[in-house]
């Protein structure tokens, strides 16, 4: 039984996004105020016009108070949601369903993460008290498991494999250089990426997404109301979210060259949106490039490339800004940065800009249908979100 979907029933009528990066001078509350007021302004609404809020954050606060307190939201429902690195997308999904149901007319999805206050390198998650047996692996190590498995399965020698990963990071930095809100706004030579200090072999520091602070927000309404707020809204074609049974670490049948959760959520989203050939039909995609091998595998799981051929598409520039299917035109997690709770909404922010012709130096020509993909967890044990959005109904 697949999800029924809410194709063209909900529209985004305003968005806001802070610059991502090391905001030593701003706390989570500052970032929330910025993103929320950016979104109010974008939609031309007053805070009193928004009926309900979904706040996504993995660790920068608990409960709706994390948002209602800094914004002084006046006695309205604010729900804090968390779904690991897919938290931002989860908040959007909840807000969309809330207005689609008719329970509310205007809802805000907002996500935030303040990572740079921890004093640690990389992302830190705390576990509930446990028996001391779960593997204590860092995120880059968990995602690096994909690399040797993929290289071996498709006959890439490690040098060639490293070239492919390097080119993915290079492409995302190149795109980020055209984005004034990105954490890293510089093109990086392939040699620098290739020779960056190792974090989890074969991944170097330049294969990892930016550890970043930031917030992003979207205001959603029912599609029939969209033009009350703006001339060129974007429409939700599909929202799919799945949590996997986490069989990868348990079952030898899982081979670490795919995310079955992504395959399932993509299939569901394409069915909702009526997409039959994503490689041809999708104009642009923002995918969860937490580490370079993730993006490589995602091309295949999302149906952009045939199994075993994504690496060739990468080398041929298929996913470049000028390519047939630009992926992460805003720089992605790699270059825009990855403040966990904000990232899913940041991906949607790029859809918002591109579909409305507001993406500046990285503007694509006439994008019609866009995809965002957001993932949380690790290979074989994760949650996955896929959305399809468009700038026209139908």
């Amino acid at each position: 039984m697949a999800s029924k979907g809410i194709k063209d029933r909900v529209a985004i009528v305003g968005m806001g996004c802070t610059k991502f990066g090391e905001h030593w001078d701003k706390g989570a509350e500052d970032l929330l105020v910025e993103a929320a007021y950016d979104a109010y302004k974008s939609a031309g609404v007053d805070p009193s016009d928004v009926d309900a809020y979904w706040l996504g954050t993995m660790g920068s606060g608990v409960s709706g108070l994390t948002l209602s307190e800094p914004l002084k939201i006046q006695y309205k429902p604010v729900t804090r949601v968390e779904n690991m690195c897919a938290t931002g997308s989860e908040s959007l999904r909840q807000a969309c369903y809330a207005v689609a149901s008719g329970a509310f007319d205007v809802a805000m999805a907002i996500g935030v993460e303040k990572l740079k206050d921890s004093g640690f390198s990389g992302l830190v998650m705390s576990n509930p008290p446990n028996d001391g047996t779960p593997a204590c692996m860092t995120p880059p190590a968990l995602f690096s498991l994909l690399a040797p498995a993929y290289f071996k399965k498709y006959g890439l020698d490690p040098e060639k494999g490293k070239d492919v990963l390097t080119r993915i990071a290079w492409k995302n930095h190149r795109n980020g250089a055209r984005n004034p809100k990105a954490q890293f706004q510089k093109e990086v030579p392939m040699e620098t990426i290739r020779n960056s200090p190792k974090i989890a072999d074969p991944l170097g520091i330049m294969d990892c997404s930016g550890v970043s602070d930031g917030a992003a927000a979207a205001i959603v309404v029912r599609a029939e109301d969209a033009h009350k707020y703006c001339k060129n809204p974007i429409y939700i074609k599909a929202l799919s979210f799945v949590a996997g049974p986490a069989e990868g670490p348990l079952s030898p049948e899982y081979d670490f060259t795919t995310f079955p959760e992504v395959v399932a959520s993509a299939r569901d989203a394409y069915a909702q949106a009526g997409v039959t050939n994503p490689r041809e039909q999708i104009s642009l995609a923002e995918v969860h490039d937490c580490f370079t091998p993730t993006e490589l595998v995602l091309y295949e799981d999302l149906g952009f490339s045939k199994r075993g051929s994504a690496w060739q598409d990468v080398m041929e520039g298929f996913f470049d800004l000028e390519g047939k299917l630009p992926v992460n035109p805003d720089g992605g997690l790699k270059s825009f940065g990855h403040p966990i709770g904000a990232s899913g909404l940041r991906m949607m922010y790029e859809m918002w800009l591109q579909m409305r012709g507001e993406a500046g130096p990285r503007q694509l020509k006439n994008p019609r249908l866009g995809l965002t993909h957001n993932l949380g967890g690790q290979p074989g044990r994760c949650v996955s979100f896929v959305s399809v959005v468009g700038n026209q109904v139908g």
Binding site: F120, V124, T133, M137, A149, K152, A200, D201
Partner: protein, 469 residues
């Protein structure tokens, strides 16, 4: 008469060359190398490894007691033997105790276990291990070694029976360490050599040989162990034992492994023992213990799982700098990552068989082996139809791996492997005793009991994979 039914031994993979110590510290080098417990090993984890082997070659044993002997117990308060028993999957219905305080703790525990097995009719297990730590520039740093040995004593299927034993206890000051101190102090060497070791050796050897009605010339092997190698060598010369019958002291390859050492020397000597051979075993230190063993016809068919000879050969070097870091003698800059969380008592107790014994589950409905133990089958999703299934002795192959340079470790980088077991089951775990540039998909691995880390004084023991030894 009770005697040894089975034995196992363990020598850690890492070796520290004595010349490497001398080169850094500028002190005189002694010959050879010493065995070094890896950063994730201690006396408990090594005892588990030796006891697992001893139990494998005593398949019918009904173990009723366990004594863990060591001078370096990981816990000053808390029964270390309970950890050893859990790791070796001994039943709960046993008497268990720690025997410590002196290198004599090992042989004393063996004699007590033999007497207990003789009296009770069941089997008595002894696991002896030590992680000898000497202060930099001191003698013990070079002469000490890390290792373990384990024995199962019983009345039937005995491979070596105890013909006689003797013990001697004297109060004198030789080597001592107060609670909280890392390194032992010792009195002037000449004092113990002339007033303790020599006289004790003479007295105990004479007594035990008289009790056994055995002449020195009738001994096939002599295992003499002393805190000071010189004491044993002087005694061997004095008693004019044929060098061919003197057991290898392991001084050049392993070092003196504290409370485990006489036992380890014995396990090294037993594979060459023939039925009827008599073996003298003596340890001096705070007195002395001695026994005379006689090999039975059953010894001819006995093969240890890992022989000492094989483990002496299976090795990889550790630099002196890494050794100092592993033993936390050299403090290092902490990583910019959070400290690991202390494992919690209730989940550890709930998961005792899993955590300490590596017992997973196997689905009765579809036969799929899986770990950690599951309630809902990963394959057929049958609910609560699981039988316990042990993975501790199963070999596996590396399906993929990660080299984590960011994770907290005393020995970075941390190597993690996805292990697929023969007979089914997959586990994502740490790898140990291997080099990062040597790991490859398809490598064959076996499971080993280790101390992952210590947090808030709680030692977190669990299993890792290592290349087959």
């Amino acid at each position: 008469m009770a005697g040894i039914v089975s034995y196992g031994s363990y020598i850690p993979y890492r070796r520290l060359k004595r010349a490497a110590i001398a080169a850094v510290l500028g002190v005189p080098a002694t010959r050879g190398e010493r065995a070094v417990a890896s950063f994730d090993e201690d006396s408990v984890s090594m005892a588990v490894e030796a006891l697992r082997d001893a139990l494998k070659t005593a398949p019918g044993a009904t173990v009723r007691s366990l004594t863990f002997g060591t001078t370096t117990p990981p816990y000053a308060e808390k029964l270390n033997a309970a950890l050893v028993g859990a790791g070796a999957r001994l039943p709960a219905e046993i008497r268990a105790s720690d025997s410590t305080g002196s290198i004599r703790a090992g042989l004393s525990a063996m004699l007590q276990a033999a007497e207990s097995a003789a009296a009770s009719g069941g089997h008595a297990a002894v696991a002896l291990a030590d992680c000898r730590l000497g202060a930099p520039e001191g003698k013990l740093e070079q002469s000490g070694g890390d290792g373990a040995a384990a024995f199962i004593f019983g009345r039937d299927n005995v491979i070596a029976e105890i013909e006689a034993s003797a013990s001697l206890t004297r109060e004198y000051l030789d080597s001592w360490r107060a609670p909280g101190e890392r390194f032992a102090h010792s009195w002037e060497e000449r004092f113990a050599l002339t007033q303790a070791y020599g006289p004790f050796f003479r007295k105990i050897i004479q007594e035990v040989l008289e009790k056994a009605k055995v002449a020195p010339g009738d001994l096939a092997k002599v295992v003499l162990d002393a805190p000071n190698q010189r004491a044993a060598e002087e005694m061997l010369r004095e008693l004019k034992f044929d060098p061919a019958r003197v057991a290898d002291s392991l001084a050049l390859t392993v070092g003196q492994t504290g409370a485990a050492h006489a036992a380890l020397m014995l396990t090294a000597a037993l594979p060459s023992a023939k039925p009827g051979d008599r073996i003298l075993v003596v340890t001096v230190g705070d007195g002395a213990d001695a026994m005379v063993l006689k090999a039975t016809p059953a010894i001819a068919a006995f093969r240890p799982v890992h022989s000492v000879g094989r483990m002496v050969e299976s090795k990889g070097d550790v630099s002196y700098a890494n050794y100092l870091k592993w033993r936390e003698i050299l403090p290092t800059e902490p990583p910019r990552r959070p400290d690991p969380d202390r494992p919690a008592a209730p989940p550890m107790m709930r998961a005792e068989k899993w955590k300490f014994g590596l017992i997973g589950s196997k689905c009765r409905a579809c036969g799929t082996a899986q770990l950690p133990p599951q309630r809902v089958c990963v394959k057929c999703r049958a609910v609560d139809q699981m039988d316990p299934y042990s993975f501790a002795d199963r070999h596996g192959r590396v399906a993929t791996y990660a080299i984590d340079r960011l994770a907290f470790s005393l020995n970075p980088p941390t190597i993690n492997a996805v292990v697929d077991y023969e007979g089914g089951g997959r586990f994502l775990c740490e790898m140990t005793d291997c080099e990062p540039d040597k790991v490859a998909i398809g490598d064959e691995v076996e499971m080993t009991f280790r101390r992952l880390f210590t947090a808030d004084g709680v030692h977190n023991y669990f299993w890792k994979a290592r290349p087959r030894r």
